[in-house]
C-alpha cells in the first residue's frame, strides 16, 4: 500500500486533499471534525470541551481512497480496529457514496506517513462521528472527478454519464471502469470546487444495514495478526527492567555476566532504562534476572489509604465547571437537602492481548509494528526516544486485542526503539500480565458528593455534584498544563448534571494529583459519574415516593436533548415492561446517561443470593442518531454493558505495600460467562448525524444495577464494586 501512496498533496479551496504522484493511482482525502450533534451533546453534558478535539490539528485528513487500474478500490483509514467494527462502518459509508458493490471495497489500516496522519488516534467514540460526512463528500467528489475524466476519454459530455458499481457508462453504451479511467488519465486531476450532491438517505443500501464485519473471518481462523503476533526475520526479543514498587527508580545496576550469557546480543544500561535483547525471550529474561538492580523507593510509601484520603471531596475546593441559578443559596438554607457520597476504585483495562512492539531501527528509516490506538503519536514517541525525525518513522498499524484506552499510551514503542537502536537489529518487546498490572496506568479513583432536594410537586429544586478524581487527560500533558487548568477535562466526562433543577445546579471538579499513573479507561469519568448521578437521582425520587422512571421523565429538560433522553428512557421501559410485577426475588433498576452525541438508558434485572448480586438481564435503549451498522451499535452496547457489569460487581485495583495488589487475574478477576447477563438492545432515534458508540453505553450500567439492588434490598450502595451488607 505504501508504495502506491502519494508523496505530495494538493489542498483545494474546499479543503479537499488530492494525492499527486504514483502513476495510475488516484488518492483523495479530507479534513475531519466533529459535527453539530456531537457538539450539542458536549455542550449539554460532557464539559466545555471535547477531550481530543480542541488543540488537535483541524486539518487532519485521515480518509483516503486509492483506485488501482484493476478497479480495486482501497479505503485507507488511520483508525485502528480493536473490536469496535470501525473498518466495517467506514467501508459502509464509503461504499454507499461511491455506489459500488460491497465486495469491491477493501478497507485497510494505513501506515503513518502514507498520507497526512490522524493526530487524534482512535478513541473518544469519535471515529464514525468525525468521518461520516467527510468520507461521503470525498467519495462523491471522487465520482464527479472520475466522470469528468471519463467524459474526456470517451469524448462525450460528463452529464451524459452514469456511474454504477465502479463503472462509468455513456448513453451510447460504452463504459469504462474507475480503474481504467485512472490508468488512462494524463495530467493533473481537477477537483471540482462545487460541493457534490450527496445521495439522499432514502437511497441508502449500506448505511443503516447490519453489514457483516470485514475482520471476522480472519478472527475465527486465527489468521489475523495482532501486535503480539508480529515477527520479523532476524528479530531479537527484548525485556526491560521495571519497578515492582510504584514510583521506584533505578539506583544502581550490576550487570554481572548478563552480556556474555547464552543468546544475549545487547545489554543496555542507562539512567532510566535497563534492557536486554537476546535470540529468545527466555534468554533475555534469564540475563535480566541475573543482573543486580537496586531501586530507590519513594520516601513516603504509597498506600491505598493515602490514595483514598487524597481522593476525597473537600468543601470549597475544586473548580466550578457548571453553574446555573443559585445552588449555593439553596444548598445552605434548605432543610430538605439530601446528601450522599459515592466512591469508585481504580481499575485496570485488562485488554487480553498484552501490549507488544517490534521496532526495526535502520540507518535511513525506522519501521515499527506497535499495538497502539495512536499510530501518529507513537511515531513521534519513537522518533524522540532515539533522536530521529518523526517522518523517518513508519508505524504499521496492527489489530488490537482490546484497547479500552490503555493503548493511547504512546510510550510503548520507545523502549523497543531504544533497544533496536543499540542492537542494530529489529527488537520485539512483549509485556506480560504482571507488567500490565504493575507498570501500566489505571482508571483513576473517584469520590463524589451529591446534594439535592425535591419540591413537593416532584421537581428537583437544587442539584449539586462535587467530584474528586485522579487525572485522566492531564497525564499526557506537561505538568504545567494541569497546574494552570486546575481540573481534568477527561475526569469530568459525564460529570455535568443534565436534569433540570428549578433553583439551580452546579458541578465542581476537584483535581487530585496521585503518586501512581492514572489515565484513559473506556468512557473516562463516565462510569463513575453515571453511578453517582443516577444513583442519587433514584434517591431523590424515593424522597418524594415517586417512580424512578416517572421522576426522571419529569425532571429532564424540555429541549431536543432532554427529549432524546426521555425517548430512550421510555423505550427501555417499554422493552423491559417496566412497572409489571417481576418474579419474587427479582427487581429492576433504571438509569440513563448521554455521551459522545448518544443517549442511552438501561434497566438491570437483579437478584441476590446471600451477599452476592446476580445481574440476570440488562435492557438498553440507544439513540445514536443516524446508525451506520445496527448490529455494530448493538455489539458496542453489549460490550460496554458487560465491561460495566464487571466493574460494578467485581473489579477493584488496590495498592498493597506500595505495589500492585494484583499482578494477574487470580487476585483481580474479570466477569465470567456465568456472571454475564443476557442483554436486549433497542435502537431508537434517527436523523442525519451519527453519534459515538464506543463508550456511551458504559454510562448507566452501575447506576442501573445499584438502583435495582436498592429496589430489592433497600440498601443504597454507594461504592464500587457493590458489596451488600
Amino acid at each position: 500500500m505504501s508504495n502506491n501512496s502519494p508523496k505530495r498533496w494538493q489542498i483545494t479551496r474546499r479543503g479537499l486533499l488530492i494525492g499527486l504522484g504514483g502513476a495510475g493511482v488516484l488518492a483523495l482525502g479530507w479534513a475531519v471534525g466533529l459535527p453539530k450533534l456531537r457538539l450539542a451533546i458536549s455542550d449539554a453534558v460532557e464539559g466545555t470541551e471535547k477531550p481530543f478535539s480542541r488543540g488537535a490539528p483541524k486539518v487532519s485528513p485521515t480518509v483516503w481512497f486509492t483506485i488501482n487500474p484493476d478497479n480495486k478500490i482501497i479505503l485507507n483509514v488511520q483508525k485502528i480496529e480493536m473490536g469496535q467494527g470501525i473498518l466495517t462502518a467506514l467501508a459502509q459509508i464509503a461504499a454507499e457514496e461511491l455506489d459500488i458493490a460491497w465486495e469491491r471495497i477493501n478497507v485497510r489500516m494505513a501506515d503513518t506517513g502514507s498520507g497526512v496522519d490522524d493526530a487524534n488516534g482512535t478513541g473518544n467514540s469519535e471515529s464514525v462521528v468525525s468521518h461520516y460526512l467527510p468520507l461521503r463528500q470525498a467519495a462523491a467528489t471522487l465520482v464527479v472527478m472520475l466522470k469528468t475524466a471519463a467524459a474526456s476519454q470517451l469524448g462525450v459530455a460528463a452529464g451524459s454519464l452514469t456511474s454504477q458499481d465502479a463503472t462509468i457508462t455513456s448513453n451510447d453504451g460504452r463504459s469504462l471502469t474507475f480503474g481504467a479511467v485512472v490508468a488512462a488519465h494524463t495530467g493533473e486531476w481537477v477537483v471540482p470546487e462545487d460541493a457534490p450532491t450527496l445521495k439522499p438517505n432514502s437511497a441508502f443500501r449500506y448505511i443503516g444495514k447490519s453489514q457483516p464485519r470485514v475482520d471476522l473471518p480472519g478472527k475465527v481462523t486465527g489468521e489475523v495478526k495482532y501486535g503480539h503476533d508480529m515477527r520479523l526475520p532476524n528479530m531479537l526479543w527484548g525485556v526491560v527492567a521495571r519497578p515492582v514498587k510504584f514510583g521506584a527508580t533505578i539506583a544502581s545496576v550490576d550487570q554481572k555476566d548478563a552480556a556474555t550469557m547464552p543468546g544475549v546480543h545487547t545489554v543496555v544500561v542507562e539512567k532510566d532504562f535497563v534492557a536486554v535483547a537476546a535470540e529468545t525471550k527466555s534468554q533475555a529474561q534469564t540475563a535480566l534476572n541475573t543482573m543486580d538492580i537496586v531501586w530507590t523507593e519513594p520516601a513516603t510509601p504509597i498506600t491505598q489509604q493515602a490514595i483514598e484520603n487524597a481522593v476525597t471531596v473537600i468543601p470549597n475546593q475544586g473548580v466550578i465547571i457548571q453553574h446555573e441559578g443559585e445552588p449555593e443559596t439553596l444548598l445552605a438554607d434548605n432543610s430538605r437537602i439530601i446528601t450522599l457520597a459515592y466512591r469508585t476504585p481504580m481499575a485496570v483495562h485488562a485488554h487480553l492481548e498484552p501490549q507488544a512492539a517490534i521496532v526495526d531501527v535502520q540507518p535511513d528509516k525506522v519501521d515499527a509494528w506497535v499495538s497502539t490506538q495512536v499510530p501518529a503519536g507513537m511515531a513521534s514517541g519513537i522518533a524522540d526516544a532515539i533522536g530521529r525525525k518523526a517522518d523517518e518513522v513508519t508505524v504499521h498499524p496492527v489489530f488490537l486485542g482490546g484497547g479500552f484506552g490503555r493503548r493511547l499510551d504512546a510510550s510503548l514503542g520507545a523502549e523497543a526503539a531504544r533497544l533496536s537502536a543499540a542492537a542494530k537489529r529489529p527488537v520485539m518487546i512483549q509485556w506480560n500480565r504482571a507488567e500490565e498490572f504493575r507498570n501500566g496506568f489505571v482508571r483513576p479513583p473517584t469520590h463524589h458528593v451529591m446534594q439535592g432536594s425535591v419540591d413537593d410537586d416532584g421537581h428537583i429544586s437544587v442539584l449539586s455534584h462535587h467530584q474528586a478524581s485522579g487525572d485522566v487527560l492531564l497525564t499526557i500533558f506537561p505538568p504545567i498544563v494541569g497546574d494552570i487548568l486546575g481540573w481534568d477535562i477527561g475526569a469530568v466526562r459525564g460529570a455535568k448534571l443534565y436534569y433540570t433543577a428549578k433553583g439551580g445546579k452546579q458541578t465542581i471538579a476537584q483535581r487530585v494529583k496521585l503518586p501512581i499513573a492514572t489515565s484513559f479507561w473506556r468512557g473516562l469519568g463516565l462510569l463513575a459519574d453515571g453511578f453517582a448521578i443516577e444513583g442519587f437521582i433514584d434517591e431523590l425520587a424515593k424522597s418524594v415516593s415517586m417512580d424512578p422512571l416517572a421522576f426522571r421523565l419529569k425532571n429532564l429538560p424540555d429541549t431536543p436533548f432532554g427529549n432524546r433522553m426521555k425517548g430512550v428512557l421510555q423505550a427501555v421501559a417499554d422493552l423491559a415492561k417496566w412497572g409489571t410485577p417481576l418474579p419474587a426475588g427479582r427487581a429492576y433498576g433504571i438509569a440513563c446517561s448521554a455521551d459522545a452525541g448518544t443517549c442511552v438508558a438501561q434497566i438491570a434485572e437483579v437478584s441476590v443470593t446471600g451477599t452476592t448480586i446476580n445481574v440476570h438481564h440488562v435492557y438498553a435503549a440507544v439513540d445514536a442518531g443516524l446508525v451506520i451498522n445496527p448490529d455494530g451499535v448493538k455489539a458496542q452496547t453489549e460490550g460496554g454493558i458487560m465491561m460495566g457489569v464487571s466493574s460494578t460487581l467485581i473489579e477493584e485495583f488496590v495498592v498493597v505495600d506500595g505495589e500492585a495488589g494484583a499482578i494477574n487475574f487470580d487476585k483481580y478477576p474479570l466477569l465470567r460467562n456465568s456472571q454475564a447477563p443476557d442483554i436486549s438492545v433497542v435502537i431508537v432515534g434517527g436523523g442525519d448525524e451519527p453519534g459515538g458508540m464506543g463508550e456511551p453505553p458504559i454510562g448507566p450500567v452501575a447506576g442501573a444495577i445499584a438502583n435495582a439492588v436498592f429496589a430489592l434490598t433497600g440498601q443504597r450502595l454507594t461504592s464500587l464494586p457493590l458489596r451488600l451488607a
Binding site: 464485519r213 481462523t221 486485542g401 460490550g639 466477569l671 447477563p677
Partner: protein
C-alpha cells in the same frame, strides 16, 4: 523432539526443559493463532485440544504432549477450508469483537459440541465459564454455541 500439530509433524529443539507448549507454538513454530492472555491458566485464551480435550497450553509442558494429537485454531477448519460449525456460528452471530480471546473460546466450544451434540444452556455456560472475554461477547457466545449445535446437526443429517 517432535510435536504432532494439526496432523502435521513439527520437529522442535530438545532443550531438556519443560517450556510451555504455548510458547513453542507462538515463538518457535510461528503458530500465532493460539493467544496468550495471562500465562497462568486463568483466562483461557491459549486453549488448544490435546487428544480432543480442551487444554490450557500456557500450563502444558511441551514434553508432556509428545506423540499426542495437538489441535490449534489453525487446524480446526476442514482442509478444504470448510469452517467448523462453531467457527461458522461465531461469524453468523457476529460474535468476535477484538477477537483475541476467540481462539480459546472457539476451541473450548468446539470440544463441547464435538462431544455433546445437544448441549443445554447450563452445559454451555459451564463449559465456557473459564474463558474470559473482555469485550463482553458472553451472551453472543452462548447463543452461537447453541446455533453451532444446530449447524452440526444439519450437516450430519
Amino acid at each position: 523432539m517432535e510435536l504432532i500439530i494439526n496432523q502435521k509433524t513439527y520437529p522442535i529443539p530438545d532443550n531438556g526443559d519443560s517450556r510451555p507448549l504455548l510458547l513453542v507454538l507462538r515463538d518457535e513454530l510461528n503458530l500465532t493463532g493460539t493467544k496468550i492472555g495471562c500465562g497462568a491458566g486463568i483466562c483461557g485464551a491459549c486453549t488448544v485440544h490435546i487428544d480432543g480435550v480442551p487444554t490450557r497450553s500456557c500450563q502444558t509442558p511441551v514434553n508432556s504432549v509428545l506423540g499426542k494429537e495437538i489441535r490449534t485454531i489453525e487446524g480446526l477448519a476442514d482442509v478444504d477450508g470448510t469452517l467448523h460449525p462453531v467457527q461458522q456460528a461465531f461469524i453468523d452471530l457476529q460474535v468476535p469483537q477484538c477477537g483475541w480471546c476467540m481462539s480459546g473460546q472457539i476451541m473450548t466450544a468446539a470440544a463441547l459440541i464435538d462431544g455433546n451434540a445437544t448441549p443445554t444452556p447450563d452445559q454451555i455456560i459451564t463449559a465456557m465459564d473459564k474463558n474470559y472475554c473482555r469485550c463482553g461477547t458472553y451472551h453472543r457466545i452462548r447463543q452461537a454455541i447453541a446455533h453451532a449445535a444446530t449447524l452440526k446437526k444439519e450437516a450430519t443429517s
